[in-house]
């Protein structure tokens, strides 16, 4: 059964048509990875699901509740604010830049919403927060303030904060992109376990290894449209579309994408010409110097 159903999603920022009609759905318990180049619209697509970004057109349904849909006049209509708030309680979100509340300890970050939004008993919320901190390997850090924690630790607190609301769905927005590479592994491990436990997850990521291992399905998005979609292993090992192939080559082999005319020209230019441009003067070759 589809937990999330999105149809005909459009979103523009000024003249930039970021989403140009996106349809997708996520089943209960499914892990869907969204990949795509920078500026492809993948983050916007994720942020539309909990309406942090308000789409210009299209419909979004989460757990049977319609958050937005075209109204009788054809223009998009949104659910009342209160309903959107309640829907958000069911969707945990983890951000690229953690966004922990810096004036609260790790424990307070986690208990704030359960206590003050869901009206959970304070002692019960604390006990649950401690349990969650233990699960993400930070049992000893409950009194630490976010700035006293590493990026990897902050992000795991952020995951615990989202889980404390007991969401039906988790949204992950490039959650390892802002942490040092050696700290990404512990975040990914938590996510892996969460996926195994049966959490429904929407994951925008550049971690192809993670997508291959954990995701059930992968969506490749570029230029505001879903270009390719399929089971994770198929799409990542045998991409059908040339754009998907170029993107995966760029990510996995660090091959230059050459996404527009200027960068294609730069990539194609002879090495020596560009080297001279970079230094601002002619190259002195060692062999020439030896001759002189």
């Amino acid at each position: 059964m589809a937990l999330v159903k999105v149809e005909g999603l459009h979103k523009s920022f000024k003249d930039n048509h970021v989403l140009q009609g996106v349809d997708f759905s996520v089943d209960q318990g499914e892990v869907l990875a969204i990949i795509g180049p920078s500026g492809s619209g993948k983050t916007t697509m994720l942020r539309c699901v909990n309406l942090l970004e308000r789409p210009d057109d299209g419909s979004i349904e989460v757990d049977g509740k319609v958050l937005c849909a075209p109204g009788p006049d054809g223009k998009i209509a949104f659910a009342p604010r209160g309903e959107i708030r309640r829907a958000r309680e069911e969707m945990g979100m983890v951000f690229q830049r953690f966004n922990l509340f810096p004036h609260m300890t790790a424990l307070q970050n986690i208990t704030e919403a359960p206590v003050n939004v869901k009206r959970v008993d304070k002692a019960a919320a604390k006990a649950r927060a401690r349990e969650l901190l233990g699960a993400v390997g930070l049992g000893h850090k409950e009194d630490a303030y976010p700035m006293q924690l590493s990026g990897g630790q902050q992000q795991r607190v952020a995951i615990a904060r989202a889980l404390a609301m007991e969401p039906k769905l988790m949204l992950f927005d490039e959650v390892t992109s802002a942490v040092d590479p050696e700290l990404a592994g512990e975040i990914l491990l938590v996510m892996k376990r969460l996926a195994k436990a049966g959490m429904t997850m929407l994951v925008v990521t550049h971690e192809m290894g993670f997508a291959a291992e954990v995701a059930d399905r992968v969506i490749f998005i570029d230029h505001g449209l879903i270009q390719e979609e399929g089971p994770a292993r198929d799409l990542l090992s045998k991409p059908q579309q040339p754009r998907t192939q170029a993107f995966l080559k760029a990510v996995l082999e660090r091959a230059p994408m050459a996404e527009d005319e200027d960068s294609r020209a730069a990539v194609a230019a002879p090495d020596e010409t560009v080297e001279e441009m970079l230094l601002g003067h002619e190259l002195h070759h060692e062999d020439e110097e030896e001759e002189a």
Binding site: L52, R85, N99, L100, F101, P102, A113, Y145
Partner: protein
């Protein structure tokens, strides 16, 4: 400089200190509350509220505090608002400082990282909830220096209440000057009092900055 004269006249001027402090404290209190209202109006989703707040701020910042004081003393009564002299002075100073503190509060609120609003919204918090629990506590840290800057300006500006004959220290000093024909000593006395009061404010600012610093 005649120190004996200062000691002799000091009690008379000292009587105005509670009045100066009272003018300052009440005006700061109401000015801060007014400023908070102006800031929240300016950030409202409702356009007329935003426009009203912007208009009040525009006028309030554009005219001298003395003129605002005159307006509360001479124009408001004609509009049917008659208060005692002291509350009228507090009203004028409050209106004047509110427009400045409003901008300070607004800049503190919008200075809080966008990600904080998003995290709060994503957790299902209502606007009232995250403003109170997430945004304002962080905004305070940004507001403290300019807020105290305005507060110190307000403290000094309470001296204009002497023009509408509130018996604060500046008026009492002027009386000494006109009755005793000496100006240096009374002026130095009140300058010193303003300086001491503002020094206290400066220490308060340091205390607040320590309290609201981020734990690193």
């Amino acid at each position: 400089m005649d120190f004996e004269f200062i000691i002799e006249e000091f009690p008379g001027i000292w009587e105005g200190v509670p009045v100066t402090i009272g003018l300052f404290a009440w005006s700061l209190l109401y000015g801060t509350l007014g400023g908070l209202v102006l800031a929240l109006m300016r950030l409202s989703r409702f356009q007329p509220l935003r426009a009203l707040s912007a208009g009040i701020t525009w006028v309030g910042r554009g005219i001298p505090p003395l003129i605002i004081l005159f307006i509360t003393f001479f124009v408001f009564p004609e509009l049917g608002l008659t208060l005692e002299r002291f509350p009228t002075a507090v009203l004028g100073l409050s209106l004047w400082t509110a427009v400045y503190q409003g901008e300070v509060i607004r800049s503190g609120i919008i200075g809080v990282d966008q990600g904080q609003w998003e995290a709060a919204e994503a957790l299902g918090m209502s606007g009232r909830h995250y403003m109170r629990r997430i945004i304002l506590p962080q905004g305070f840290r940004i507001m403290i220096p300019p807020y105290f800057g305005n507060a110190m300006t307000l403290l000094k500006q309470t001296s204009i209440a002497s023009i509408v004959t509130i018996t604060e220290i500046t008026l009492l000093a002027q009386r000494v000057i006109s009755f005793k024909f000496v100006s240096l000593e009374p002026l130095l006395t009140i300058a010193f009092i303003y300086l001491v009061l503002n020094t206290i404010l400066q220490f308060a600012q340091m205390g607040f900055e320590r309290t609201f610093r981020l734990r690193v």
